[in-house]
């Protein structure tokens, strides 16, 4: 790669950090107001108790837990996808990885808020954390909620490291390019990076370790989130398929969120030269596979329930299939499968617009899926006397809207402080591959052959 190209990459990707238009401030102010309204709603709820929310006997979990599962699902966008793409050494990944990893960290932060928001006494949330306390009791380690705490904190730590490691060389670049107070901040963040061979080797090794370690962590996180439901005997919750079903759904919604984020970044930051249609094509193929997998899991889950014909489960089954929740259920099927499938399967439609439409629908559909797993089961438990219907209240809706605003706000602020596309990885990718002799090529091909 010649010097001119490298300079162009620097200029293009550092432009958002150097120049700020008035639209950015307007966006931040608008999103900030929505987030503040959400925080205000939460304070109002703490002050008045959960009486202001829509939850009731017997539907004790609803919007908040839906949001919890949804955001933890979105967080699988990043780290998992970027880790897999790194491990299989897919070269097209280079401009994609960082925007994906950022989604993970922020979505996890937002998702982890919800178990606290939904508590009856949120000021005591730290009782979920094991620490030597004057009460002399530990959290109940048999409870899936205690597992949640460990799973989410591990994943948040891991994915933050996974985001920060490849940022170090870019922080060093920023340290060298910026002036004034910003230079001092980036100098601290760059951790003394000088670009020596030793440092590169260590970075590569650390990233390789993190990429391998984060995959089982990500899978286990959403499995444990699914355990919150499948460990209790509530009809249609107590199911062995929930672990993989939740993980597949999480990756599904995660890729959709990633495509949306990339499309917005591409337009807003003028990154057309870096985020090509081929990236959307490739992610669209992944999304298509996950859509099929999601459809398969949903079908398998429903069919087994129907054949099992357990009376308590059938009540929930018909309630979602043809009853009060059926409009939501069929909207979900259309959003997650019926419309995205042709959009993503037909090559002519798998354009940027096509994948963005499919992704928007999938984000809505996956939110509905989480809601439809939680609410109908609780509303239609074993004793018909104790059935009830849930309706969300303004507080719950406001807090839900505010989390989406918070996601965009954090993302916008991050893109203002850090190049959203990894500069050094792009440059590495631009280097010409060494020309191999036919013997060397043969030797490389040899590696793929089965040896005795």
């Amino acid at each position: 790669m010649d010097l001119a190209t490298e300079r162009k990459i620097n200029e293009d990707l550092l432009r958002p950090l150097r120049q700020t238009s008035v639209w950015f401030f307007l966006l931040i102010a608008g999103l900030g107001i929505i987030v503040l309204a959400g925080v205000g709603s939460w304070m109002y709820q703490i002050w008045n108790g959960l009486a202001v929310a829509g939850i009731r006997w017997p539907v004790f979990w609803a919007f908040y837990i839906t949001n919890f599962v949804f955001w933890i699902g979105i967080s699988h966008a990043g780290t998992l996808i970027s880790a897999i793409l790194r491990l299989v050494n897919a070269t097209w990944r280079r401009p994609v990885t960082r925007c994906a990893e950022v989604i993970t960290v922020f979505a996890l932060m937002i998702g982890a808020m919800f178990p606290i928001i939904h508590l009856g006494r949120p000021w005591l949330f730290f009782w979920l954390i094991p620490y030597p306390s004057e009460r002399q009791i530990w959290p109940n380690l048999r409870s899936p909620l205690a597992w949640d705490f460990f799973a989410i904190s591990t994943y948040l730590t891991g994915s933050t490291l996974f985001l920060l490691l490849p940022l170090i060389p870019d922080f060093a670049l920023l340290r060298d390019q910026m002036r004034g107070w910003r230079k001092r901040i980036y100098a601290v963040l760059a951790l003394g990076w000088q670009g020596t061979t030793k440092q590169w080797h260590r970075l590569e090794a650390a990233m390789q370790i993190m990429a391998i370690a984060i995959v089982p962590v990500a899978v286990s996180v959403h499995t444990i989130v699914s355990f919150d439901f499948s460990m209790s005997s509530v009809p249609m919750w107590h199911s062995t398929v929930f672990g993989p079903y939740f993980v597949a759904g999480a990756i599904f919604s995660g890729i959709a969120a990633l495509i949306l984020a990339m499309a917005v970044l591409r337009k807003a930051l003028h990154l057309e030269e870096y985020l090509h249609p081929v990236h959307f094509q490739n992610l669209g193929k992944l999304l298509l596979m996950m859509s099929l997998l999601w459809g398969y899991f949903t079908f398998a889950e429903r069919l087994t329930t129907w054949y099992g014909n357990n009376s308590a489960e059938m009540a929930v089954f018909w309630e979602t299939q043809t009853g009060a929740y059926s409009p939501l259920f069929w909207t979900m099927v259309f959003c997650n499968f019926v419309i995205p499938f042709p959009l993503l399967a037909i090559r002519r439609l798998r354009t940027i617009t096509g994948t963005v439409i499919a992704s928007s629908l999938i984000v809505v559909g996956m939110w509905l899926e989480r809601f439809l797993i939680i609410v109908p089961s609780l509303a239609t438990k074993h004793l018909p006397y104790a059935w009830g219907a849930y309706r969300p209240q303004p507080v719950e809706i406001m807090i839900t809207v505010a989390t989406f605003a918070a996601m965009v706000l954090l993302y916008a602020l991050f893109a203002k402080a850090v190049p959203i596309i990894s500069i050094w990885e792009l440059k590495v990718g631009g280097h010409a591959q060494p020309v191999l002799t036919p013997e060397e090529q043969e030797e490389q091909r040899e590696l793929w052959k089965a040896r005795p």
Partner: protein, 222 residues
């Protein structure tokens, strides 16, 4: 506890007695319609057949004090736990309000305090000093009137004698005019509740879930 469904007339005296004994909050019509009413014991009504051949079935449902209670392992703070006596206890001060226990309970007999309790004057006057008032954000449920159990045991100990069968009566049992509810020691094979629990009419509620409930329902014969 044993419940004879043949004797239950659905008068709901047990519900009222329980409310007074255990300081259960009053939700009011508007909040009740929104599912915030609390009733540690309720009389479920089920109708069978078409008019005019309608049969009404009453079934008083309270916490079944399960031996394998689904609410216990799910609580992250041990607020819901098993006592040595076999009661399923709820420690209000330890509860942080995840409501997981209330979801896991197949009998839906766990209730959540959606707001701080208020009693319009003079309804606060008959509050029972032996029972704590639950604050906002905690889960509560039937205790089998544990305050009466403890008082009865202490009384017997003070008088240096064994507890008599039928000496301890939870509020619902005491107030049942038809004697449909019977309370006693299941470990004592001679007690009335043990005898009724062994009855051929005896069934457990949602027995196939494997929760091992301690309440036996004697099914209706007519």
């Amino acid at each position: 506890m044993a419940v004879d469904l043949d004797r239950c007339t659905g008068c709901e005296a047990c519900v009222t007695a329980c409310r007074t004994e255990n300081n259960i909050r009053i939700a009011g019509p508007e909040q009740s319609a929104r599912g915030r009413a609390i009733a540690w014991i309720r009389v479920e009504r089920y109708y069978e057949g078409d008019f005019p051949d309608v049969r009404v079935k009453f079934r008083p449902v309270m916490c079944q004090q399960c031996d394998a209670a689904p609410c216990e392992p799910v609580c992250p703070t041990y607020a819901s736990h098993h006592t040595d006596e076999g009661l399923n206890a709820q420690v209000y001060n330890r509860c942080i309000g995840t409501r997981y226990c209330a979801n896991a309970c197949p009998y839906s007999v766990r209730f959540f305090n959606f707001g701080n309790p208020v009693w319009d004057r003079p309804l606060e006057l008959p509050l029972n000093p032996d029972v704590s008032v639950r604050e906002v954000g905690v889960v509560e449920k039937c205790t089998f009137c544990v305050q009466r159990i403890n008082a009865g045991k202490e009384q017997a100990k003070a008088e240096n004698r064994e507890l008599q069968d039928g000496e301890i009566k939870p509020a619902c049992v005491q107030s049942c005019p038809a004697s449909a509810l019977v309370f006693g020691d299941l470990n004592d094979a001679e007690s009335e509740v043990s005898r009724l629990s062994r009855s051929s009419r005896g069934t457990k509620l949602l027995e196939d879930l494997g929760t091992l409930p301690k309440v036996t329902y004697l099914q209706r014969q007519f």
